[in-house]
């Protein structure tokens, strides 16, 4: 089976416990207004617009498919900036064994892998294959998910998984639908389900001033997770407009004072592992 992978970062300090290899899967079913990696949303349509923009001729078309020569690439990302399809020509199509081969290079230095995205659970079957093999070499497997797919229906994957990092972008479904273009019913269901199964390692909320009711989201998330385990980490992330598509509309980052006020809300709701970034 083939997995569509946007990129693999050998060492990551921000994707779960300890040092982890982060595997960013291609494809996402959300369309967040503030998305920082819009090139992970769609699979490449092979339109070919990016080929002419590439300064090192690392991209070429063969049998109507765009190919990427990794060795020639200078990582200028001009292809991504040109893409009208929220995608990237640099997607790697790898088998689980190929992923394991790469991870083996980093194995002495890491606790495990984290699959992220895009939305990684859209490639559930591939993840099961990868996780099974990763477990065989004694590493742990974490999932970073937007929560759109119901984890209670992904038993095999969840059993192989050591912990989930779940994004809760907005508690209000109306705002979720408006700015994320997707319903949050499963997100909230997953929040409770994963906490109850002791699989929730971390919850993340990106704080975007003005458009979301951040106080409400922080309060409700903190309240819910502390019911199960006060030690579940709640990472409250200040929005920054770097890499955002519509950076003119969303230009303000929250102030430090505002972030601190959200931390106090989470604390009041009995969360005792809060990180502000």
């Amino acid at each position: 089976m083939i997995g569509y992978i946007n990129k693999i970062i050998p060492f990551s300090s921000v994707d779960g416990p300890g040092n982890r290899t982060a595997i960013f899967m291609q494809g996402c079913n959300f369309n967040c207004i503030y998305c920082h990696n819009p090139e992970t949303i769609n699979i490449c349509s092979n339109c070919g617009l990016c080929i002419n923009e590439c300064p090192t001729e690392a991209l070429y078309s063969k049998e109507n498919n765009i190919h990427w020569n990794k060795d020639k690439c200078c990582n200028c990302d001009k292809c991504i900036k040109t893409c009208k399809n929220a995608s990237s020509p640099k997607i790697q199509k790898l088998t689980a064994d190929e992923v394991i081969n790469e991870v083996s290079n980093y194995r002495p230095f890491i606790q495990g892998i984290t699959v992220s995205g895009g939305e990684c659970t859209l490639q559930e079957e591939f993840l099961i294959e990868v996780f099974t093999k990763v477990k065989e070499i004694g590493l742990t497997c974490f999932i970073d998910s937007n929560g759109s797919k119901d984890f209670s229906k992904m038993n095999t994957l969840l059993e192989l998984c050591d912990g989930v990092m779940l994004d809760v972008k907005s508690f209000s479904n109306e705002k979720h639908n408006k700015f994320i273009k997707f319903d949050n019913m499963n997100v909230l269901k997953n929040l409770e389900y994963l906490a109850s199964k002791d699989k929730l390692y971390e919850v993340r909320t990106v704080v975007v001033p003005e458009i979301f009711n951040n106080e409400e989201t922080v309060k409700e998330v903190a309240n819910l997770i502390s019911k199960y385990n006060r030690g579940i980490r709640y990472k409250i992330i200040a929005f920054r407009n770097l890499g955002v598509r519509d950076s003119l509309v969303l230009k303000n980052s929250p102030t430090n004072e505002y972030m601190e006020s959200l931390k106090i809300i989470a604390e009041k709701n009995k969360c005792n592992n809060i990180i502000i970034v």
């Binding site: 921000v14 040092n19 002495p108 230095f109 990180i275």
Partner: protein, 493 residues
């Protein structure tokens, strides 16, 4: 102006630094060592460098007293009885340190300070106060950052307190190393990493590797592994890159230049040892020897090298990054070939006063000095050419086994690693599994930074840049290496 007056009138030197400079001047006014003509030529060519140890060696370069024995028995010469509480313990140690000679005239090893103080920690608040004063006094009176304390490998209350206080004080002195093995608790290791991200210490030593090579060891000066109750008479280093420039080919390097230069250095080291042991009276007269805190048969000497990377690149005429040391298998393999050659030479060369190492010298990856331009410390990959971290660690680990008396690499991390210190711990654990001996880290945003092995505050370098005197004599060394060694340009991880 004559040289003595130059020292006397120097606005950038403190009184203490002037006294030491004058003593060095006096020492260098005579010649007592038998140095061969060939060796002199190599010294003049900059291939052999004795790190300005002086013309008349009158004390071993590095001394590692057995402080455990001192704590148990006290010291007759210093009229000290064994301590009975934390105040006496810290006071006794501070008195003792004052009398431990070294090349810098300050102690380069102050013991496993956690184990030394642990028996006296009853009331934690009182212990914290005592240790805070102890560490502050060290920083202000041992004004040289080659002063090195050790912690671990076992976790103690004392180690935890020392790390917490160092995080508050952010002092450059003492340098610290955590001896790390599977006995070290994750808690202590994480505390150590949190402290290192604030104040560039402690570094991590691969305890198993050092113990296998040396037995009971301590880390002194920059990162020098040496025997407790002994030390090193001397350290002379070879500038491999300068030597490579004199070779006509790779084969000429191996057949002629390298063996000849090694022989000259090794004989020069033996001559320096001879003078210290047989003529200087140090081992007859010093109270540390008389009372058994050190003994002559626990001493060895260090054969240092710098610029392995540049040496390889010169020999291969490697211009493109992918052909250079740290990036190409051919280049790295040539580095290994050079190290195998040097190791074999050392194994066959006799040095009769180095009893503790079977009458052999120890290889040492020297960290460099301010005058080294385009010469990387020891076997390190040059700053500015660092590969991805995992590749860097695997590459460097190949070389650490050759240097029982010290080698190390330094990695600056982004400050946000503070949210996940386990990230760095995993990297250190992996590095040790791969064969790294010594790992240093700091964060990109601290005042205290690790220059090459020792610590200096950026703010103190700025003071010196403005022409003001600074308390610690190592600031001027740091200033030189920031200018010439691209120390502030290391790749952030």
């Amino acid at each position: 102006m004559n040289d003595i007056e130059k020292i006397v009138k120097d606005l950038k030197l403190t009184y203490e630094q002037k006294v030491i400079a004058l003593a060095r001047y006096a020492e260098n006014s005579v010649k007592v060592l038998n140095i061969s003509e060939d060796t002199e030529k190599l010294r003049e060519a900059g291939i052999i460098c004795d790190l300005f140890e002086g013309n008349v060696p009158y004390r071993p370069r590095y001394i590692l007293p057995d402080y455990e024995k001192f704590m148990k028995e006290g010291c007759e010469f210093l009229e000290l009885t064994p301590a009975t509480n934390i105040w006496e313990a810290t006071s006794n140690l501070l008195i003792m340190y004052k009398h431990v000679p070294s090349i810098t005239s300050m102690p380069v090893y102050i013991g496993n300070i956690d184990y030394l103080l642990e028996p006296f920690i009853n009331d934690e608040d009182e212990a914290k106060l005592a240790i805070r004063l102890f560490l502050t006094q060290l920083d202000r009176t041992i004004t040289d950052s080659f002063c090195h304390g050790n912690l671990g490998p076992k976790s103690t209350k004392a180690a935890k307190i020392i790390l917490e206080i160092e995080r508050e004080l952010e002092n450059a002195i003492p340098n610290l190393t955590l001896k790390y093995n599977e006995e070290t608790s994750d808690y202590l290791a994480i505390e150590a990493i949190k402290t290192a991200l604030v104040t560039a210490k402690p570094s991590f030593a691969n305890h198993e590797m050092f113990t296998n090579d040396l037995g009971e060891y301590g880390i002194a000066s920059c990162y020098n592994g040496l025997h407790v109750g002994g030390g090193a008479h001397t350290l002379v280093r070879m500038r491999l890159s300068t030597l490579a420039e004199s070779a006509t080919s790779i084969e000429d390097f191996f057949n002629d230049k390298l063996p000849h230069a090694m022989k000259c250095i090794a004989e020069y080291i033996n001559e320096r040892i001879r003078y210290i042991v047989e003529e200087s009276t140090f081992f007859e007269a010093n109270f540390l020897v008389k009372e058994g805190f050190i003994s002559q048969d626990r001493f060895t000497s260090m054969f240092g090298l710098v610029g392995l990377a540049e040496c390889v690149n010169i020999l291969l005429k490697a211009e493109k990054l992918e052909d250079r040391f740290g990036h190409s298998k051919v280049a790295d393999d040539l580095g290994i070939r050079i190290m195998d050659f040097m190791e074999e030479f050392i194994n066959n060369f006799e040095s009769k006063h180095c009893k503790v190492t079977n009458e052999r010298l120890l290889l040492h990856a020297q960290v460099g000095i301010g005058d080294d331009i385009n010469i990387s410390p020891g076997s390190r990959i040059p700053i500015g050419e660092e590969p991805e971290l995992w590749k860097h660690l695997k590459q460097t680990a190949r070389f650490h086994k050759y240097f029982p008396s010290g080698v190390g690499d330094i990695f600056p991390f982004e400050i946000n690693s503070m949210n996940n210190p386990e990230f760095i711990l995993n990297i250190i654990q992996g590095s040790f599994k791969e064969g790294m001996r010594y790992f240093s880290l700091y964060s990109s945003e601290t005042d205290v930074i690790r220059i090459t092995g020792y610590l200096v505050k950026r703010s103190e370098i700025e003071k010196l840049n403005k022409g003001e005197a600074t308390l610690q004599d190592t600031v001027v060394l740091g200033q030189g290496q920031v200018e010439n060694g691209k120390v502030l340009e290391r790749m952030k991880r």
